[in-house]
Symmetry: C2
Subunit: 475 residues, 2 copies
């Protein structure tokens, strides 16, 4: 494909994309295909000689779209949101074209340096303490990870190395394996599955601490767990605090921060979804105590209008990451080491894309006020749905709404609620996913798409009512 | 940014990109900036209200380009290549616009299913055995990872879980920690640093096996290491074989395959760079014995014209991955489980982009013959440079050229060669990185950019000659 062909193809794709987004309400949210639908639509082998671009374009609608779950439909209310914005697409085009692999400063200085500054801009927008920002001149700073799962794993591995080194310094005879076998990390029983997985991958014990009736983990519960484990000869070293669990509950950051300080644990804050709301001062109370954390992570690719993947992580002391990840061959060494971060030591992979361009474009083309307006509008829409639920005596809320998620159920047994969910998803007008806590099955309604308007919420509620009627007639 | 603004902005960006690529020879390969150059060029804070798109566009040349290392310049000969092609950019635009997170089949069936089929197409292009392909109907299949580092780590973690489970089945009283502390993995002393890092992250011992005089790891060396470790009571479980080390040497796949079978080790093939060459039958001898491996990985984003990140990994038995990574909360469960892969169990992160679109577009718009022509042309260009080196008695080769890399040095001491490298990189006309094996420092010249032509190689060689003259005058 030469440059003129690319220009024409780019026009085609741009046209397709704007049509797709503009008319996304016309599409069924959940596809109707069965597993295995796609293979028969394609040739058995890659072509020997090039296909025509027009055939590739035509195949998007023929092959791909029948099997797409439309995450940006205003009736997509599953999981938590993922972002999709025009400025992000433009930035990714540029990132692809520059096509640098920013594993060291020298491998593309702009790639590293823009990330350092953008993470400062973003941290400041959230109101993070100065210690987390590179501009403070201390040891702190931010880095873009792929996902919150990776951020949790990176924090856990750094905390593990730090604790092992500390104990070996005290008692040089101790074997690393002996220490590792006694390490124990903590998280709420409401923490994301990726936290349990981080423990699994890193080969350390992970204890689930029981959250309270509002599904929040509190200080005394953590202290109790730590004290029990200390008596057993274990070595507590790491705590993941969740800001917005699957039911949008919040662990108590100040309390857990104080307990982790008391027992010298690394406190990692997983604010994957909720972090974005910190751009609005009125939600900052949810992160009161954040200065007690060693690391903080949230996903701009969830609720802050930056296309996946862009997971923002800050640490107070970047040396802790470098100590855990540094394996340095000659071909990656360069003259300017130490003067700017070599981000390869801050992450699991070696290679990395120029993702800070997305942050830059999006922050500039929305501005702080644009972010605030987006968050406030979406929370308002969640309250609109919450009000519908509250006004209908057949339903109950699992928790009052804090951000953009409404957890609700029919005041019936789990089976009836499961049937309601199944009906909603089979109809394909909207998409929800469930959760189940302490035996209670419920539906999660999240305001996801940036396109969502008041009338979309109204439409979604009408669909809930329609399916409720069907289910209640049968049960 | 509304749809009309996006259309205009996309035209701007497309124009910028084609100009950038077309005129990339006019730019200095390595930037001249010093660490910290970028911050003063930007405001201290994110804007409160949106900036103009025209200002964002203008800032690419003002802020970004002065600090870009131009990986796609035909005079960029550092590391190994990374791809940059128009079809990839188009596919990424679509991927961003669809913006689905394909962690389960239901979260976007097309995202999972296209990946399954594309990995079959690609595996077939490489001549991988049927057992690695999903189309065989067995337990094998492919998955797109972010990087080869992640693929090595995923394979290692799967092998670790498999060995722990096997031993615990035999002796249920054995503690997992006891087994883990005895596990030992192997790789050549020429393996990529990410392999050592995988051992570090997974908390298992990793032994470097000494390669031979051609920097290849051979069967007897591995057998000897395993036997020694067994005597010490250790548990050998995993071997990473490198196809194309930093000097482009090749471990002996058939020999290592036989040894790993004999001792029941998981054999992972890391062919990050070299894998692409397997599209040409004449290079398949380099992977003779691949049917003995449990997993195979290479990076289409290196040498097969797919933009980063796209690391292709195949396994013979996907259950081994799922066993290591499966942590399943209710909100990720769905009706169709087991009928198609849920790729979240095949990787470190939970979320994933629609990266198979890139593979699809690139395979269709190049075709098998396009791939072969690209690989053969680039290897030809490497031989052109090799011939220059051979014809000049002042130089020596470290190894004969097999693929696109030429490792060479002046027949002088390390200091002189270091000075030569430094001069070349300071001049900025071309970019090389060094390596050092067994005390010998040398220069690595890799044919990287797809744009590279015969006259570019000639130009690069002239630059080497010019800098050689300078260095030899001073030394």
């Amino acid at each position: 494909m030469d440059e003129e062909q690319f220009k024409a193809a780019s026009r085609d794709m741009t046209e397709y994309i704007t049509n797709y987004i503009t008319n996304i309400r016309d599409r069924r949210v959940l596809p109707e295909v069965e597993p295995g639908y796609l293979r028969p639509l394609l040739p058995d082998h890659a072509p020997d000689t090039p296909d025509e671009w027009s055939d590739v374009m035509a195949d998007i609608e023929r092959v791909i779209m029948p099997g797409v779950t439309h995450w940006h439909s205003p009736q997509f209310h599953a999981y938590y949101p993922t972002a999709n914005t025009y400025p992000s697409i433009l930035a990714d085009m540029l990132s692809d074209a520059i096509g640098c692999i920013g594993f060291t400063w020298i491998s593309s200085p702009a790639c590293t340096e823009l990330e350092v500054v953008m993470m400062d801009w973003l941290g400041e927008l959230l109101g993070l303490p100065q210690q987390f920002l590179a501009s403070s001149g201390g040891k702190g700073g931010g880095v873009i990870q792929g996902t919150a799962s990776e951020a949790s794993l990176v924090a856990l591995l750094a905390a593990k190395t730090k604790m092992v080194n500390k104990l070996k310094e005290k008692k040089p005879d101790l074997l690393k394996d002996t220490i590792t076998s006694k390490l124990i990390a903590y998280a709420s029983d409401q923490a994301h599955s990726s936290v349990e997985r981080a423990g699994l991958l890193a080969g350390v014990k992970m204890r689930q601490v029981v959250s309270n009736d509002e599904f929040a983990m509190r200080g005394p519960a953590l202290r109790h767990a730590i004290q029990q484990d200390l008596k057993l000869g274990l070595i507590p070293f790491f705590e993941v605090l969740t800001m917005a669990t699957s039911v949008c509950s919040f662990d108590n950051l100040r309390e857990l921060g104080e307990v982790t300080q008391e027992f010298d644990l690394w406190l990692h804050v997983d604010a994957a979804y909720a972090g974005a709301a910190m751009v609005c001062e009125e939600y900052r109370y949810l992160m009161d105590g954040v200065e007690l954390a060693q690391s903080f992570n949230f996903n701009p690719h969830k609720w802050l209008l930056v296309t996946f993947d862009c997971s923002a992580m800050w640490v107070k002391n970047a040396n802790d990451l470098v100590d855990a990840f540094n394996v340095d061959p000659l071909y990656l060494k360069h003259d300017k080491q130490g003067l700017a971060p070599d981000y390869r030591h801050w992450q699991i992979p070696l290679g990395r894309r120029f993702r800070s361009l997305k942050l830059w474009f999006v922050m500039r083309l929305y501005g702080k006020q644009g972010f605030q307006a987006h968050i406030r509008k979406q929370i308002g829409l969640a309250h609109q749905f919450e009000d519908y639920v509250k006004a209908d005596q057949r339903f109950e809320l699992i928790l009052p709404v804090t951000l953009g998620l409404v957890c609700f159920r029919l005041k019936k047994n789990n089976e009836v609620n499961e049937a309601l969910l199944k009906n909603i998803n089979s109809d394909g007008v909207m998409h929800l996913v469930p959760s189940k806590i302490r035996g209670t099955f419920f539906l999660r309604f999240c305001v996801c798409s940036e396109l969502t308007e008041t009338y979309d919420i109204e439409k979604s509620w009408q669909e809930v009512l329609k399916q409720t009627q069907r289910v209640l007639q049968q049960n």
